[in-house]
Amino acid sequence: MSEALQIERPDVLTELGQETLRRLMRSWFDFERRLSRVNIINRLDVGSFTIEDYRSLLLNLRPQVIEGGRWISRCASSFDREHADVRSVVIGHAKDEHRDYEVLEQDYVAAGGKIDVIQQQPRNPGTEALHAFLMYRASQPNPADLLGAMWIIEGLGEKMANDWADRIDELTNGNGSYTKFMRYHGDNDDSHMDKLYGLIDRVCNDVQAADDIVRTADVVGRLYTMQLEEIDYVDE
């Protein structure tokens, strides 16, 4: 069996690639501000976040984490042979993450939740919208714009690992035993960034492609925010 095709990190991005990266950075900063305005995240910032808040957060994250594996797999299958190298990267990604939700369920139980409750929890309206959008985009031929989705969702994974997990333990007197899902995403920062630069260089070939990537990042950021906003309306 041959080795999976690789996408290498370029030394320098094209001018369009640089502009796209700048726009993605702005999209991310906008997403972070949107997150900070969400009630449950504001409670994390001001220090009034409770263990009940944390269980609600996990409860509402699980359905999307499960769907995550699905849209990434769908995305991979939508790339044709001209994009085999991109497909390789996406397949690797799907394999990494498709059982993340099991760690999340263990955290929920360790934080005092009941396993049947989290397993029966339906998608909240924000998750529905996010999932529908991701599956729709992933079903298009060569959905390179999902690089924008990857940018937001991986960025959030790093934020959880580097910022939220410690803060949650601090505010709920935890010792790390129930923040494993969040912490898991902090590894391999550098390789994630190399992959991102490589993909921008590979798929950002014209202004339309660049606009699509940034638009998808913006939409995913908004829908992810909506998913978290809905937490304060969902009962445990």
Binding site: E15, L21, R23, M25, R26, F29, R33
Partner: protein, 370 residues
């Protein structure tokens, strides 16, 4: 119509105070050495600073006095006399008086008659607000000259007695002690005119972006130490009660602080996107946050995005003059110009990040020669 920075001035009170001397001067809380001082100083890199209080905690210069000194220094070489200044635009975090505005006190000290007065309120970025008000005033043609004066006297907040009144050594946490090892005193001034004079700096633009709608307070005075108490300092029956509750301590939420770097980058990227800022054409970057805060991942990302500014273009005098809040940028510009490194045609980007509730200001200048 254009506006030019035709003169600058600065004033730093007393001799430089080293890291070894500073705790002696500010005082040991409950007679005990700080456990956090070294760690915080190592992180901010400051080696010396100035204080307008002596070791007995007498105030050697009031905040307004320092502003007046900086303004006088600025006007020494000016081509118009002090009494002809059209506008006085001032900024400070906290004046000597609670009211009236700081500008009134500076005006009285300088003896400028009939001046149009402005005082901006805030923390570090209040300097940019004061500059922008002055620039706009000149641009609409109401005045042809404006003196901008920024001054800070934060050391009065750092006397050991302040912390003792709020519970003492055992109750003071990292967030309450952080700024004690960061902020110090000083003043800066700049003269703005519609007429260029000799070598001077043309003001290309001043812009700012505030994010208080998205983030909680990161640096402030007025909230008690108990996070569940929603009162602010004037809600207590007496000021003594407010002080005992820690509501008069200056605090920094260190966890939220990293947002200032991201938002600083965000603002610069907006200005690039608008076509206002061309990073590749910046010759000098002056920022009172040192470049090492922008290193690591975000710096690398900026490099990849073609928006990085090489290390050799960064200038700061933070390490020797201290972080003087809203006065910092002018003290820095004054020293930078004195070093005479700027040539006609050179562009300067001044970055003024404020962590209070996240306001980032930017100012773009070009050296011109008449």
């Amino acid at each position: 119509m254009s506006v030019y920075v035709t003169n600058t001035g600065a004033f730093l009170p007393g001799p430089p105070v080293s890291n070894e001397e500073m705790e002696e001067l500010l005082g040991y809380i409950d007679g005990k050495k700080s456990r956090l001082k070294q760690r915080i100083l190592k992180a901010n890199g400051i080696k010396t600073r100035h204080y307008a209080i002596d070791k007995d905690h007498n105030t050697t210069h009031s905040n307004a006095d320092m502003g007046v000194e900086a303004a006088r220094q600025c006007m020494q070489q000016a081509s118009l006399p002090m009494n002809k200044i059209g506008m006085l635009s001032c900024a400070t975090t906290q004046g000597d008086m609670v009211i009236p505005g700081f500008g009134s006190m500076v005006q009285a000290g300088l003896g400028i008659p009939d001046v149009e007065l402005h005082t901006s309120h805030g923390i570090c970025s209040s300097s940019a607000m004061a500059i922008k008000s002055a620039v706009n005033n000149l641009l609409v043609g109401d005045q042809s000259s404006a003196l901008v004066v920024t001054s800070e006297l934060s050391s009065r907040l750092f006397k050991h007695t302040r912390y003792e009144a709020a519970g003492g050594y055992d109750t003071i946490d990292f967030n309450a002690e952080f700024l004690r090892w960061m902020l110090s005193d000083g003043a800066g001034a700049m003269l703005l005119e519609t007429q260029p004079r000799g070598r001077c700096l043309k003001v290309d633009w001043v812009r700012s972006f505030s994010h208080a709608d998205a983030y909680p307070v990161c640096m402030g005075i007025g909230k008690p130490s108990d996070k569940n108490d929603s009162r602010t300092w004037q809600d207590y029956s007496t000021y003594a009660e407010a002080e005992a509750a820690g509501a008069l301590l200056i605090k920094q939420d260190v966890r939220l602080l990293e947002n200032i770097v991201k938002l600083g980058v965000d603002g610069a990227l907006r200005l690039i996107e608008e076509g206002v800022l061309d990073i590749s054409k910046i010759d000098h970057l002056l920022c009172h946050y040192s470049s090492h805060h922008f290193r690591d991942k975000i710096y690398e990302m900026l490099e990849m995005a073609g928006a990085g500014i090489p290390e050799e273009k960064w200038y700061t005098n933070l390490y020797t003059r201290g972080n003087t809040g809203c006065a910092s940028i002018m003290i820095m510009l004054n020293e930078f110009l004195q070093e005479q490194r700027v040539q006609p045609g050179d562009t300067l980007l001044l970055m003024i990040p404020e962590s209070g509730r996240f306001n980032n200001a930017y100012m773009h200048l070009t050296m011109v020669e008449q």
